[in-house]
């Protein structure tokens, strides 16, 4: 023990002073860190970004940025569209008053439309849409036919009104093609309809992409009250947006934090009171847990900048784990008649330290995952446990001075009976118990099927999903999560690559695998293409005399014909650069352009209403095209890390075995390790038998089971003649840990539930197995080895 000087130098006041200084520093740091906005609630924050290539990560960010702020509202009425509009107008006022949004759009203004029209008009001979190009190449007479059709149609007012400026209607064709999905407008408001209702559309942009918790709550209650009001007026309201999913997640996380936190705290208070019937242990335990949690929170916020609310859900479960150290110390006081803190510390310190080490090892495993959420959980838990341990080791000796017991707690009798009788019963019945265990484990493992789905991170209520689906079917305008990233070595190369992709996408669209797609190259022809467009018009329409004939027959006078020919001739050298085109476009189109950087130009192609992702993913073999499927790639990541985590578990297992084998001899090491082995096996089998989710996250939970299993095994192994107090300590700590993780298992979020369930099953098993260890040591034929250990541990 020479490497642990604290054992030999016992200065309770000095160490307490150290602890106090440390906590002061934490408090000061916390005072700074926790006054900022430190709570993260968004679901995307949980996903790893480091694994992706930087340009894909950047494209994903840009792609998500706009959609994350959008909230879509549809006010519906059965009778008339006017009624739906009336609901929407009332709703608009309400939304504007809420101050949550920086944009609430009901009536769509013409201003930008007119501006864009004016800015692009001079380049009309260079800007042709794909359909016009095709008609011009194949049969320019058809273009004339189509024009006559449009002009004679009872709805051709706009084109007719513009005939003077745009006699061939090529610019109105180009403009129309910019808007692939046609929406119906009434009084400037988009009105959608299905079989039962008319729906008026309201689009809002939240002020902030990442809303703070209080704003999310305001949003959620705004949605609720608005829904009630529209309903009271006889209508129906549909609302959807990323923020609503976040709000729901944050709300359930908050509930879970309080369930787990309050549940664990009450459990600990009841247990401690029942055991010690004194206030001091209660206060000391709270102090250990409290300082652990505080330090964990402060250091996590300092380290990560922000901490996710889901981390706090796991953090709340730490209450039950951090309490272990305090309980072991306190329970040790039952072990001896003339107990004092100095003796107690000497006895429990090696066990506590090894326990801490194995727990830290498990949590370090979590930290190796690429998921920011798990990294936070790892650091939070590690710091929490470390500080709880430090509190026990540094502060308790002073505060436990003069701590004695003059009663035999009822629970001690129970645990003593437990540690004495249970092992005997097990060893008497070991044959058939072993058989049952083997069958149970084998059967459970047989039924185990891994599942890797990013959706496990978020479990929105079915109603929210139904509404989102309904809105998507009515208003298929919000881009899907998946998109293409298109690159080229320069603008021409990029343009060509994107055009190749878009042509293929058109075919996919014909097969109904998606509703719409949007790529810049359909709106902005590359510079060489602009010249080709001009030449195409020149040959097919202007030089051939076709346009002149058409205009004359339509009734234009000679002057107008000549003016048009002159304008066309003058426009020959016009070119529209991409930045100039982008300047006329709206936000959602501008966002498609990623820019040119060191010999690489990139854009994204967004997709709407995908029904067959496989058909789209197949297009990624095209030159310069990357298929970005965030959900799929994260799910694939889950699968990859599930396998890696299995390896990690194995490594942690081997390390623990090696460490214990080195310290206590191989045979004893194996004995101790049998506790976590059985716990792991049973835990896995339970997942199989109860058809529980088995994913990456369960493996991380198994890491904890390994750590805790080693703990319990160690405590009993090292108990020697203090088996009664050890079993009390282990049972108390197992009960509180069980409470914490059992409460986690009630979570509505799949991964949290899976975590809780796995750890709970593992701890119960470890608790059942641990008392068997001491038994073997006591009745071990190798008394000599045991003696040396005991003396070494007791420091005699």
């Amino acid at each position: 023990m020479s490497n642990k000087p604290i054992l030999n130098v016992y200065h309770p006041k000095l160490t307490a002073g150290l602890w106090l200084a440390g906590m002061l520093v934490i408090c000061i740091l916390g005072g700074q860190a926790l006054t900022k906005d430190w709570l993260e609630t968004g679901f995307l924050a949980l996903l790893p970004t480091g694994e992706q290539q930087p340009e894909i990560a950047k494209a994903t960010r840009q792609h998500n940025q706009l959609s994350n702020r959008k909230v879509i509202w549809l006010a519906g009425a059965a009778a008339t569209s006017g009624e739906a509009i009336a609901h929407a107008q009332k709703l608009k006022q309400q939304l504007e008053q809420s101050k949550l949004f920086n944009k609430v759009v009901l009536e769509f203004s013409q201003q930008q439309y007119i501006r864009q029209y004016q800015q692009l008009f001079p380049y009309r001979y260079q800007l042709l849409d794909a359909q016009t190009q095709e008609v011009l190449v194949k049969k320019p007479e058809d273009l004339i036919q189509q024009n006559l059709e449009i002009l004679n149609s009872p709805i051709g007012q706009m084109q007719a009104a513009d005939l003077e400026r745009d006699p061939s209607l090529i610019f109105s064709r180009y403009f129309n093609a910019q808007n692939p999905i046609k929406l119906n407008l009434e009084q400037g408001i988009v009105v959608l309809s299905d079989q039962h209702r008319f729906w008026a559309l309201l689009l809002t942009d939240l002020q902030d992409e990442k809303l703070q918790l209080d704003k999310l709550e305001t949003l959620a209650s705004l949605v609720d009250s608005a829904t009630e009001q529209v309903k009271a007026a006889g209508g129906e309201l549909l609302v959807s947006g990323m923020a609503l999913f976040t709000a729901h997640g944050a709300e359930s996380a908050k509930q879970e934090i309080s369930t787990v936190g309050i549940g664990s705290s009450i459990g600990i208070i009841v247990l401690l009171w029942a055991t010690f019937r004194s206030v001091r242990p209660l206060l000391l335990s709270s102090l250990a847990i409290g300082s652990g949690l505080l330090a964990a929170l402060v250091i996590c916020v300092l380290f990560f900048g922000k901490i996710h609310i889901l981390t706090l859900v796991f953090g709340a479960s730490l209450i039950g784990v951090a309490d272990d150290y305090a309980q072991h110390f306190l329970c040790d006081s039952f072990g001896e008649k003339d107990w004092n803190p100095r003796k107690g510390l000497k006895f429990i310190l090696p066990g506590l330290t090894l326990g801490l080490a194995s727990n830290l090892l498990s949590y370090a495993g979590l930290g190796f995952s690429p998921f920011p959420g798990l990294q936070e959980v790892a650091l939070f838990s590690a710091i929490g446990l470390l500080v709880a341990w430090l509190t026990v080791v540094l502060l308790f000796p002073l505060l436990l001075t003069g701590f004695t017991f003059d009663h035999q707690p009822g629970i001690l009798k129970l645990t003593t009976y437990w540690e004495e009788r249970w092992p005997l019963w097990v060893s008497k019945n070991r044959r058939w118990l072993g058989l049952i265990l083997a069958v149970f484990v084998a059967g459970g493992l047989w039924r185990l099927a891994p599942q890797d789905d990013v959706r496990l991170l978020q479990s929105p209520p079915a109603e929210l999903l139904r509404t989102a689906d309904k809105i998507r079917s009515l208003f298929p305008m919000s881009p899907d999560n998946q998109f293409f990233l298109v690159s080229g070595k320069d603008q021409t190369d990029w343009h060509q690559n994107e055009q190749t992709l878009l042509k293929r996408l058109d075919a996919v669209k014909q097969q109904k695998a998606l509703i719409a797609y949007e790529g810049l190259s359909d709106y902005w022809p590359a510079v060489n293409q602009q010249q080709q467009n001009y030449q195409l018009l020149k040959h097919q329409l202007y030089d051939s005399g076709l346009l002149e004939r058409y205009m004359t027959e339509l009734g234009f006078d000679e002057r107008a014909v000549q003016a048009e020919l002159k304008q066309f001739a003058e426009a020959e050298r016009n070119t529209l650069a991409l930045p100039d085109w982008l300047a006329t476009a709206d936000e959602s189109k501008r966002q498609l352009w990623m820019g040119c950087d060191s010999g690489c130009c990139q854009s994204t192609v967004t997709l709407i209403g995908i029904s067959d992702a496989g058909a789209l993913a197949a297009l990624q073999d095209l030159p310069g095209v990357v298929w970005v499927d965030q959900v799929e790639s994260v799910s694939a990541l889950f699968a990859r890390y599930r396998i890696r985590a299995s390896g990690l578990l194995l490594v942690a297992f081997c390390l623990a075995t090696l460490g214990l084998g080195y310290k206590f001899g191989w045979r004893n090491g194996a004995t101790i390790m049998s506790v976590p082995v059985v716990a792991l096996a049973v835990s896995l089998a339970m997942l199989g038998w109860f058809d529980q989710l088995f994913s990456l996250f369960n493996l991380f939970a198994l890491l904890l089971v390994l750590g805790i299993g080693v703990d319990y095994g160690l405590f009993f192994f090292m108990a020697g003649d203090r088996r009664a107090s050890t079993s009390l300590g282990v049972t108390l700590s197992a009960l509180t840990t069980l409470l914490a993780f059992g409460l986690l298992a009630t979570s509505s979020t799949e991964i949290v539930h899976a975590f809780g369930f796995t750890v709970t099953a593992g701890i119960v098993t470890a608790l059942l197995c641990a008392p068997l260890i001491g038994l073997k040591v006591i009745y071990s034929p190798r008394r000599h080895e045991e003696k040396t250990q005991t003396s070494c541990l007791r420091g005699k």
Partner: protein, 195 residues
């Protein structure tokens, strides 16, 4: 959302109105009300920029539940199908210009009261004929259309749309009948409108 904005000018053809004036009820009472109305149309568009009007003729069919078939036969054959939520032309699916379907329904189906949603209405009702002048209430529609004049007897006979830019469209309806059933061809056309 340029998409929506871009559609605006394109769509500003018709809208709806409020206030049921007495004359409207009187006229409406005289109009034949049947589920199906069909006939010929003669449309004349007078565009300022052109020296001669654009003239087209063809047939129309109105079905109370299904919408309108507008079949142009001269100078080019083309088909326009429209109901309250969908508009199909030779160029594919288009946005339905503001309540276009409803205005057609109101005019062709004799449900004049529906027009008051979006227009202020003045009118005269004489023994054999009537005339209505509609002025759009909608600010955006006002920018395009100054007035619409409807006239007829037991049927709507003439429709004149005067645009603010000076263009005028005149449509006259002829050979109006009210068959009890749609022909197979008409059925098939309407079928294309169903989602």
């Amino acid at each position: 959302m340029i998409l929506i904005k871009a559609l605006l000018l394109y769509c500003l053809a018709f809208s709806q109105g409020v206030a049921g004036e007495a004359v409207l009820t009187e006229i409406a009472a005289r109009l034949a009300k049947t589920p199906i109305t069909q006939g010929d149309f003669h449309q004349q568009k007078q565009l300022k920029v052109l020296r001669k009007p654009l003239i087209s003729t063809g047939t129309f069919t109105y079905d109370q539940n299904k919408g309108v078939i507008w079949k142009t036969l001269t100078p080019v054959i083309s088909l326009l199908l429209v109901n309250e939520s969908k508009l199909l032309t030779g160029q594919g699916e288009q946005a339905v210009p503001a309540a276009f379907g409803k205005v057609f329904k109101a005019m062709l189906g004799g449900d004049l009261a529906a027009l008051t949603d979006g227009f202020s209405v003045t009118g005269t009702d004489q023994k054999t004929s009537w005339q209505l002048e509609l002025t759009p209430k909608d600010e955006m529609l006002k920018k395009i259309i100054s007035t619409m004049v409807l006239s007829g007897d037991t049927e709507l006979r003439d429709l004149e749309i005067r645009e603010t830019g000076g263009n005028i469209t005149r449509i006259s309806f002829d050979h109006i009948t009210h068959p009890a059933q749609l022909t197979d061809e008409q059925q098939a056309d309407f079928e294309r409108l169903s989602p």
